[in-house]
């Protein structure tokens, strides 16, 4: 019997030659597959993935870009609106301020004119009063001189007399005013 002649040996002792052949065989497989063929297909699979899902990704990216631009545009528009509103508001404020200033200026001028008028009137009145007083005094003296026949030329006395007379006049005028 052949198998008896060959003899039983421990199957768990690996043969050296087979070990070397096995390693070499695997290195050949791993070398060709690992260094060339599998990277090849990995690249192709990635390209395919890119071609299929890349299109979707690119579309999504474009969509996102459009959205971003829209947002930007909206923001700019809002800003422009805000700016316009601000400028309008500013102009309105400035206008109101100018009007107020003009009004104030007018008021001031009016008051100045009125004051000047009052002062003029007062000065005129004083002048007139003084003139009248002199005139009235002279007329009264003339009249009294004519009536009494005596010259009242003593200036001092004349003056006092006139003043007393006038005060009496003014007093009666005031009493009349008060009574009314």
């Amino acid at each position: 019997m052949l198998f008896l002649a060959e003899g039983a040996q421990n199957p768990l002792i690996p043969g050296g030659a087979e070990l070397v052949v096995g390693l070499l065989c695997f290195f050949i497989v791993f070398g060709l597959l690992g260094k060339k063929l599998l990277p090849n297909i990995q690249k192709t699979l990635e390209e395919r993935h890119d071609a299929i899902e890349g299109g979707l990704e690119r579309a999504a990216e474009a969509q996102a870009e459009a959205n971003r631009t829209l947002e930007q545009y909206k923001a700019q528009l809002a800003e422009a609106r805000h700016e316009a509103a601000r400028i309008t508001e500013q102009a309105r404020e400035q206008g109101a301020q100018i009007i107020a200033e003009m009004r104030e200026e007018g008021q001031r001028q009016r008051e100045a004119i009125i004051a000047a008028g009052h002062a003029q009137i007062e000065a005129d009145r004083r002048q007139v009063t003084a003139t009248l007083r002199q005139e009235v005094g002279r007329i009264a003296t003339d009249l009294a001189g004519k009536l009494v026949g005596e010259s009242l030329e003593d200036h001092a006395r004349q003056s006092r007399t006139i003043d007393r007379f006038l005060e009496g006049l003014e007093g009666s005028a005031a009493e009349t005013g008060a009574a009314r």
Binding site: Q9, P14, G15, L19, F26, L38
Partner: protein, 268 residues
């Protein structure tokens, strides 16, 4: 030459007054095809080389000039590649596992095709049932495991990653360190090799047994029913082996990626 060819040559049959040639370790020993000095070139070596040619040839045809819209062959290759890249590497290691996909893919297909040789007519022998082949592959996985462990964590961190478990009661530490060391450094590579070897060894033995029996018992008598039963079992075992061959290649690759994942992870 497997046992049944030997059997046919020896013409051993129940009617020839010949004892049943039960297959055994002899089924795994081959006369050298040729010898160079002390180097004997045997059938398992030839099969391994044929597997190299088949695996590389297939992937060369499928992936040498890959197209964006794949042809049939490229599509089949892609399914195989994606199976390892997604169901094993991505699933077990995660994104970091992408770097190891070529290694894992090479392992998976080399192991699988070598296993499939078990049921291919005229080959009819899984090279992985010779212990040296699983040992060579397991050694490469183990070296990768150790290299990545120490490269990722440095010497101290690497040792810690291999033997240390956080938060143990003090009295358990020596025991666990010893157990972890045995498990990670001794058992892992050993079982990785033995699992593949033993499955292929036993599968081949069963197929040979039932094949031999169905020939041995084939006589114009009631024994032909037993021979028929044996033949059905041999056919059944062949179909079953097809599953086991794939499963073992898958498990081998899965475990390799689990080890790589363990080496890359922080702590454990």
């Amino acid at each position: 030459m497997s046992a049944h060819t030997l059997l046919a040559e020896s013409g051993c049959h129940i009617n020839h007054d010949c004892a049943f040639p039960a297959p055994g370790l002899n089924s795994f020993d081959f006369k050298p095809i040729f010898s160079i000095g002390s180097f004997d070139f045997t059938k398992p070596m030839l099969l391994a080389i044929i597997c190299v040619v088949l695996v590389v040839g297939f992937f060369w045809a499928a992936f040498n000039k890959p197209k964006l819209v794949p042809g049939k062959l490229q599509l089949v290759g892609e399914i195989g590649y994606n199976f390892v890249a997604r169901s094993i590497a991505r699933e077990v290691i995660g994104k970091k596992g992408d770097k190891y996909v070529p290694f894992l893919t090479s392992i998976f297909f080399f192991v699988w095709i070598m296993n499939v040789m078990s049921i291919i007519p005229f080959a009819q022998f899984p090279a992985n049932s010779k212990f040296a082949f699983p040992v060579a592959l397991a050694a490469l996985v183990f070296i990768t495991y150790m290299y990545l462990t120490f490269k990722t964590h440095g010497f101290r961190g690497g040792v810690k990653n291999l033997v240390w478990i956080e938060g143990l009661p003090k009295f358990l530490v020596p025991l666990i360190v010893l157990l972890e060391f045995i498990q990670n450094v001794i058992t892992r590579p050993f079982t990785l090799a033995v699992r593949l070897w033993a499955n292929m060894f036993a599968g081949h033995l069963l197929i040979v047994l039932f094949s031999v029996a169905s020939w041995y018992l084939l006589t114009p008598s009631f024994l032909s029913a037993v021979a028929g039963g044996s033949f059905v079992l041999a056919a059944g075992m062949t179909a079953f082996e097809l599953l086991i061959q794939f499963l073992q290649a898958y498990i081998f690759t899965l475990l390799a990626s689990i080890y790589i994942s363990g080496a890359l992870e922080e702590g454990h």
